[in-house]
Every structure is written in C-alpha cells, then in structure tokens.
C-alpha cells in the first residue's frame, strides 16, 4: 500500500531524515519507533504532504504522492493524526468528526451519520454536542482518532496517539485499532509505548538519527542489540 523510497528531508543545516526506505503492505500494522528526535514525525509530515521531501519518493498503491498538497493525499485515502492534538475547539465533537466525513461525501446528513458512527466507535457518543475545546486530553485524543476514521482512510497514520493516556484508555485504542485492521484498514503508527508496539504491530521499523536502523518483526527488533543500544546506550544490558 505504502512505499517509501530513499526519503530524505533536510532543513537548513539539519538533515532530519536521511535515505529512509520501507514498505507498508495492505492490511498491515507497522510501527515506526525510535528515540526522540529520530525523525519519525518528520517522516509522517513528508508522507502526509505537510512537508515536501528533499529527495526520495513516497508512493501510495503505486501512485506517487510525494510533493502533493496534504488535502489531496488525504482524499486519496491517507489520513494522519497529530502528535499534539488539534481539535477545532469552537466546533462540537460531532462537527469535528463531520469535517473528516466530508472528505468522502458532500451530503450533510450522510456526513453526520458517518461522523456519529466514528464518534461512537471511540466512545464519545455522549459528548457529541460538547465543544471540542472543553474536552479533557484523553477525550481529545479519542476525537482526533474518530475524526481521522470518519475520513474513511485506506491508510491511517497515527502519531503517538496513546501518549499521555492511562493504561485502560490506551488498551481501548489498541482494541479499536485491532478492529480497524479486521475491517481491512492499514495502519502506520508512531509509538513509544513498547507494550502497545509488541501487541499490535505486524512489523516494526526503527529510526535513529534520521536513518533506518532496523526493520522486522517485533520479537526480532526487541532482541536486536543495535536497537537496544540506540535507546539505552552502549553499556547497558537488559536484565
């Protein structure tokens, strides 16, 4: 579904992502991990069109999307969430989700239905008329997810969607992602919580200092000494 080839993104003086290549197959869940500053969100930004690549290319189902504006990429079925959530604060929860739904339909009542279903999916149905600005952080994260789902993506990019949530809440999101996969969705997620990565991911891609360090099944990655070193430094051994 997604092919990232030799992706490079340089800002003045800083190369945030260098020559990164990986694939995400249909209906897979791939986790993008790495220490802070490894370039994961920058990758997301380039893949989703928020930034243009300095070099390399990104293809969605064989079609080149690198360099396209973000709204076009979203319309083609690649929808991302933001690490720091960005709800439309003066609009209600339902209205927020409807913005996502409007990517697939122009009809207001159809959009309302789709939006309501995605809100219900994340458990926010009782707060449909609440202003997004009044929500707690966990609810905002749920809204961010619901909004993206309402946009009917084929490939969902989740940027640390579980950061800052309690165990019960992140477990709920894990279930939601599993159910999305069961419906055929493909997911690429950035995550720090290893428990979640191990439980959800079919494959893991590890970034470090902007370069791809390793790639493979979760169990392989967990045992890879290079990966451990990148997180913990040279002298530590796992207990």
């Amino acid at each position: 579904m997604l092919q990232v080839r030799a992706l490079t993104k340089a800002f003045r003086g800083l190369t945030a992502v260098r020559d990164v290549s990986f694939d995400v197959a249909d209906n897979e869940i791939v986790a993008l991990i790495g220490p802070n500053g490894a370039g994961k969100t920058t990758c997301f930004n380039v893949i989703s069109g928020a930034l243009k690549p300095t070099a390399g290319t990104v293809m969605l189902s064989g079609e080149i999307v690198a360099g396209l504006p973000p709204e076009q990429i979203a319309m083609k079925g690649l929808v991302r969430t933001f690490q720091i959530v960005r709800p439309m604060r003066t609009m209600t929860v339902l209205e927020n989700a409807m913005i996502g739904a409007f990517a697939r339909t122009a009809d207001v009542s159809k959009a309302m239905d789709t939006a309501f279903r995605s809100i219900a999916r994340v458990g926010l149905q009782n707060k449909a008329d609440a202003l997004a600005g009044n929500l707690t952080l966990p609810d905002r994260k749920m809204l961010e997810l619901a909004r993206a789902i309402a946009a009917g993506p084929r490939l969902l990019l989740l940027d640390e969607v579980m950061a800052g949530l309690r165990t019960a809440e992140s477990d709920r999101i894990v279930d939601i992602i599993r159910s999305l996969k069961a419906e055929g969705m493909t997911v690429l997620l950035i995550e720090h919580i290893m428990r979640v990565v191990m439980a959800l991911a079919d494959r893991v891609v590890v970034l470090h200092h902007g370069e791809k360090l390793a790639e493979g099944k979760p169990s392989e990655i967990g045992a890879d000494p290079k990966v451990i070193e990148s997180y913990l430094g040279k002298r530590t051994k796992l207990a």
């Binding site: 973000p70 709204e71 929808v79 933001f82 439309m88 209205e95 913005i99 996502g100 207001v108």
Partner: protein, 326 residues
C-alpha cells in the same frame, strides 16, 4: 442526541415578511433609514462570510465600489439594462475577490498580513479610479436624474424610497437565506475548520485554497450586488467615498456588534448600528459640535465589545431561551 444542525428558517421568513409589510405604511424617513439598514445588513452578511473562513477583510469597500461603478457605468455609458448590469457588477467583484484570495492563499498570506493586503488592494484601486477619466476620476460619475413621471422602476431599477426599500429588502433577504444554507453545508463546515486550524483541516482533506477562494468570491459578489444597487440609488459615485477605508471599517462594525457566529447576527447588528449612526449624526448636528457622532459611535462600540463579547444577537437568543417556560 443528534441535534438539528441548521436553525429553522421560518422565524427569519416571518421577520422579513413583517418588515416587507411595513413598507407601505412607513414615512420616507423610516423608509430611507431601513433601506440603509438592509444595505448594511447585506454588507455585513457578505463580510461575515469571508470572516467565517478566517479571512479578515479590511478592504470590503473595494468590492462594493467595483459593483457600484460597473453597474453605473454599464447602465449610464453603455446603455445596458440594469438587470444585466447589476449581475455584471456582481461578477466583477467576485472575480476581484477570487484574485485576492488566490494571491493570499497561494503565497500563505494570513491573519494581519492578509487584512493589510486587502487594504492595499482597495487603496490601489481607489487611486486608480481617482485617476481614470472614463469613470469620472475624483470628479465623480453621475447617473442621469430620473424623471419621476415617466420612469418605470422595474425597467431602470431606480425609483423612489419605497422602491429601493423593497429592492434592498429583497436582495438582503435572499442573501441571508443563501448564506445560511451555505454555512449549514459542507462548505460552511470547511470554512469554519480552516478558520480554526488550516493545517489540521487540510490533513483531513479540506481543500484550503479552493475553499478560501470560494468564500471570498461569494462574499465579494454579494458586496458587489449591494454596491450595484446602492450606486443606482445614490445616482453619483466618487472613488473617495465609495472605496475608502472608512467605509470598509463601517461595514464590519455591524456584523461584529451583532454577533459573528450567525448570519442573523449580522442582520441584527445592522438594525442596531445604523440607527445608532444616524442618531449620533443628528445629535452632532444639534449640538453644533463636529465629531460628537464619531465620539458616540466609538463609545457605544467600546461598550458592546467590552460587555457583550459575542455580540448582541447571541445574548438576545440566550435571553429569549431562558425566558421561555421549560
């Protein structure tokens, strides 16, 4: 659970019908005052539309003026029927708006900078018109005086106070319902999303540039429509009064005072602000002091913005709702 997203249209319908019914019984003072109210309501609706997409216009007089001049010149110099000239003015204004929105969107000119860009374009065109002899330059452009005995208002789209009362009421009511439908449609949602967080909206598939251009095109078109009829009513146009910055500021006071969120707020705002302006003018003349009207105007606006942050109309709605028995 799922509340109705668009307010019911019939209260507004009733309102406009009542106002229409008043027409024949009002005297000329009230007729002209209310006509001015409708005009500012129309301008307010137009300005508010752009604003809902996050685009602050401080040069709205440009669209007004372009509509006015296009209509006037086509009817007077071109001999074209005003039924064609007014739409022509509307289109010209819409094109100007599209261009400005495109430039702003394409080059990421947002917020304050965009507002100043609108001033820049308005001033540029104003000075252009000042120096353009074809439209009369600073000396002004004049329509032939109508002969009250032989004039047929529906043909020339000019007439007495009552004619313009109904004409402005009609287009303002039409504009109101149009804007209301738009705000309740996919476009309205998209505009509000862009206004809040353009990048997050784009990540959800909202076409930012197209949405902005559409918002400004419609907004400018409505202003051009009002300007066209306004020109026919005034009979004379001067760049320095039709396209000046002060007018751009005047048109936005009513919608902000009335309440930005809802189209009806813009209409209500005009009902409050225009009589206030007139009252302040009269008071100024009575006391013989120059500037009393400006002073009163400023004080009242300060009071409203300080104590009624969301405008007058939302507070009225709140009051009516709480007064209703549960």
């Amino acid at each position: 659970m799922k509340r109705a997203l668009s307010p019911r249209p019939w209260p507004a319908f009733v309102f406009f019908l009542v106002v229409a019914g008043l027409g024949p019984v009002l005297d000329s003072f009230w007729l002209s005052l209310l006509t001015l109210v409708f005009f500012y309501a129309l301008m307010g609706l137009s300005w508010n539309l752009m604003m809902s997409a996050g685009l602050l216009s401080l040069g709205h007089a440009l669209f007004l003026g372009l509509g006015a001049y296009t209509t006037a010149v086509l009817t007077a110099s071109g001999g074209i029927s005003p039924w064609l000239a007014i739409p022509a003015g509307t289109v010209i204004s819409a094109l100007a708006g599209s261009m400005i929105a495109w430039v702003g969107g394409r080059f990421s000119v947002r917020g304050v900078q965009f507002a100043v860009l609108t001033i820049a374009f308005a001033e540029l065109v104003r000075v252009l018109f000042d120096n353009w002899n074809f439209v009369g330059g600073t000396g002004g452009f004049f329509l032939k005086a109508i002969n009250p005995d032989t004039n047929r208002p529906l043909l020339t789209l000019r007439g007495g106070a009552l004619f313009f009362y109904f004409a402005f009421l009609a287009i303002t009511a039409a504009a109101y319902f149009l804007v209301q439908r738009l705000m309740a449609s996919r476009w309205g949602f998209r505009w509000r999303a862009i206004s809040e967080d353009e990048d997050a909206a784009r990540a959800l598939g909202v076409p930012a540039l197209r949405s902005k251009v559409l918002a400004v095109a419609i907004s400018a078109g409505l202003a051009g429509l009002g300007g066209g009829l306004f020109g026919l009513m005034q009979g004379s146009l001067f760049p320095d009064s039709t396209m000046r910055l002060q007018l751009s500021i005047e048109v936005l006071i009513a919608p902000i005072v009335g309440g930005l969120g809802s189209p009806f707020g813009s209409v209500m705002g005009a009902f409050f602000v225009v009589p206030l302006m007139e009252f302040a003018n009269v008071l100024g003349q009575r006391t013989g002091y120059y500037g009393v009207n400006t002073l009163i105007y400023g004080i009242v606006i300060l009071a409203v913005i300080a104590f009624l942050p969301h405008g007058i109309w939302p507070r009225v709605v709140q009051f009516v709702r709480s007064a209703r028995p549960a």
